[in-house]
Amino acid sequence: MVKVDKLNKVAEQRHGRLGLTDEQVLDMYRTMLLARRIDERMWLLNRAGKIPFVVSCQGQEAGQVGASFALDRQKDFALPYYRDVGVVLAFGMTAKDLMMQAYAKADDPNSGGRQMPGHFGQKKNRIVTGSSPVTTQVPHAVGIALGAKMEKKDFVSFVTFGEGSSNQGDFHEGANFAAVHKLPVIFMVENNQYAISVPLSKQVACEKISDRAIGYGMPGITVDGNDPLAVYEAVKDARKRGNNGEGPTLIEVISYRLTPHSSDDDDRSYRGREEVEEAKQKDGIYSFADYLRKLNILTEEIETKMEKEIKKIIDDATDDAENAAYADPKSIYKHVYAE
């Protein structure tokens, strides 16, 4: 008992020290798990021929959720990229919303079935509409932060993208602009080691993507993406800087893409199974669960209940989406311009 208590205290200091309550870390875990379970269901539905396409968050949920919880989700703007199921859930999108998107139904809040899955956008939750060409959202995030500065509002804008995408010109131009004008932007690179089939070593020659920060005159930091608390802390700090008028921050979050690039990809042609298996051992969902279990925050009872609830939510969402209507074909002529 004494031993457990001790462990408990030592461990508690981690999230407690960051100002997070037990409830909050449990909520973080639940959000990570929900993202994972939704993603897993998507693959099942895809393989069963029910939905045409999946692009996964698996392996990146811990970083996504850790970051989102460090933001003010009632104020800040999120510009997620296609893997950010964890981010959009944290910002208020629901499992049902995501299923509607996967099924491309009229009730998809992202686009009414116009865009592919993973192309998020929901104004009421300040999730900014995204497209397929990578990295275009980076200057948008800077523009939104410019709005904050011009209107003297205290929100920040949070933008994510893959490490491969950090090689696009728009990353460079956006980062530099934000730094020159000291705008409250958090640039978060989700470094999952691959851009489709291209391994990190063929994408960049720098040691860390965060090494790029110095070239813009902003702080750059690399954190373990399997540790949601580490990411939480980094984003929290960055948010404070942004709010204080100290400008943007570049945060690199190291993870691993556990699935193929998308349901159209077969990753066996370009990476070994051992490598993938090894990465699975470090899965942030499991290690965070361990941490919470050790602290008795996640008990067996809570866990069972949580899984059950999540399953129910996803089942219902799937049913709803499956039975929902497509948009009227004639609706394609709408919303080209304001009406």
Binding site: F77, D108, P109, N110, S111, G112, R114, Q115, H119, G121, Q122, K123, V128, T129, S131, S132, P133, T136, V138, P139, H140, A141, V142, G143, I144, A145, L146, G147, A148, K149, M150, S157, G169, D170, H172, E173, G174, N176, F177, V180, H181, K334, H335, V336, Y337, A338
Partner: protein, 327 residues
């Protein structure tokens, strides 16, 4: 009514819109202290300060992209591309993003940005300071492209663009900046985007054009009047989406149509104008639809005699109009 130059109409429109709505702001290269390399933003920095008149780093994709982000947030950015030729690095942001934001989000988000850019030749600017770039963008639903010819239209259309709920590419003919003067009312007004304008009523031949060529056509029409040729001149003003009704009406009126652009011929926007006519009023035509345009070479050279060979001018227009009238 006060008379002012084409560029003064721009500056005035910007000034008044910034006064009217504090969400309106200007960003671009050298638009601040310098007042723009053409002086289009002169005085704005002094009046509205550096937060609303932003000198940006030299990066067009960011100028467009940051503008787009701010527009999604709710601001009314007016982004300047220093020369239209330098809009090319921003094509992805304009075509993939600005033009598609409303549509792809099913009307949840919108992007009310105005992107201004000086285009056109005849200023010894050579290949990269002379181009007409509208056709690169004139196939992108969601975007509007405005190319005014007179100070009156400039001011009214720039105000309309800034107030528009969707992205507008506002192209200014740089040779017209100080060459073209005209009356502009003191009171606030807008000119509707998407509407062409009859700049001269006539009965013998129809000329459809835009930008500086409108003036060339008007000059030529004066001359031809003495020869008994009465030209009807339609100024497109908005080149995307086109004002179909006005085009059909103008073409049907005389049955003889000359289309003019300063751009290279093949693939220019007058091809679309021609297609609209022959789809809708072919049997009203008494002559083949004639086109006068720049030659199909990359852009106009620097050396004066070479530039002259490329550029449309009043003589070339007059010649083409007479030829058509005589058909």
């Amino acid at each position: 009514m006060p008379v002012m130059s084409y560029i003064q109409a721009i500056t005035q429109a910007l000034h008044e819109e910034m006064e009217r709505d504090e969400k309106v702001f200007v960003l671009g290269e050298d638009v601040g202290v310098r007042g723009g390399v053409f002086r289009a933003t002169e005085g704005l920095y002094e009046k509205f300060g550096e937060t609303r008149v932003l000198d940006t780093p030299l990066a067009e994709s960011a100028i467009a992209g940051v503008g787009i982000g701010s527009a999604m947030y709710g601001m009314r950015p007016v982004a300047e591309m220093q020369f239209a030729d330098f809009i090319m690095p921003a094509v992805n942001q304009i075509i993939s993003e600005a033009a598609k934001i409303r549509y792809r989000s099913n009307n949840d988000w919108s992007c009310p940005i105005t992107i201004r850019a000086p285009y056109g030749g005849g200023v010894h600017g050579a290949l990269y300071h002379s181009q007409s770039i509208e056709s690169v963008f004139a196939n992108q639903p969601g975007l509007k492209i405005v190319m005014p010819s007179t100070p009156y239209d400039v001011k009214g259309l720039l105000k309309a663009s800034i107030r528009d709920e969707d992205p507008v590419l506002f192209l200014e003919h740089k040779r017209a900046y100080r060459l073209i003067k005209g009356e502009v009312p003191e009171e606030d007004y807008t000119v509707p985007i998407g509407k062409a304008d009859v700049k001269r009523e006539g009965t013998d031949i129809t000329v459809i054009t835009y930008g500086l060529c409108v003036h060339f056509a008007l000059q030529a029409a004066e001359k031809l009047e003495a020869e008994g040729i009465d030209a009807h001149i339609l100024d497109l003003r908005t080149v995307y989406p086109l004002d179909k009704e006005a085009i059909i009406e103008a073409a049907s009126k005389t049955g003889k149509v000359l289309l003019i652009t300063e751009d290279n011929l093949e693939g220019s926007i007058i091809g679309e104008v021609s297609a609209i006519i022959s789809e809708n009023c072919l049997f009203d035509l008494d002559a083949p639809i004639k086109r006068l345009a720049g030659p199909d070479v990359p852009s106009m050279p620097y050396a004066p005699p070479l530039e002259k060979e490329f550029m449309i001018n009043p003589d070339k227009v007059e010649h083409a109009m007479r030829e058509l009238a005589e058909f």
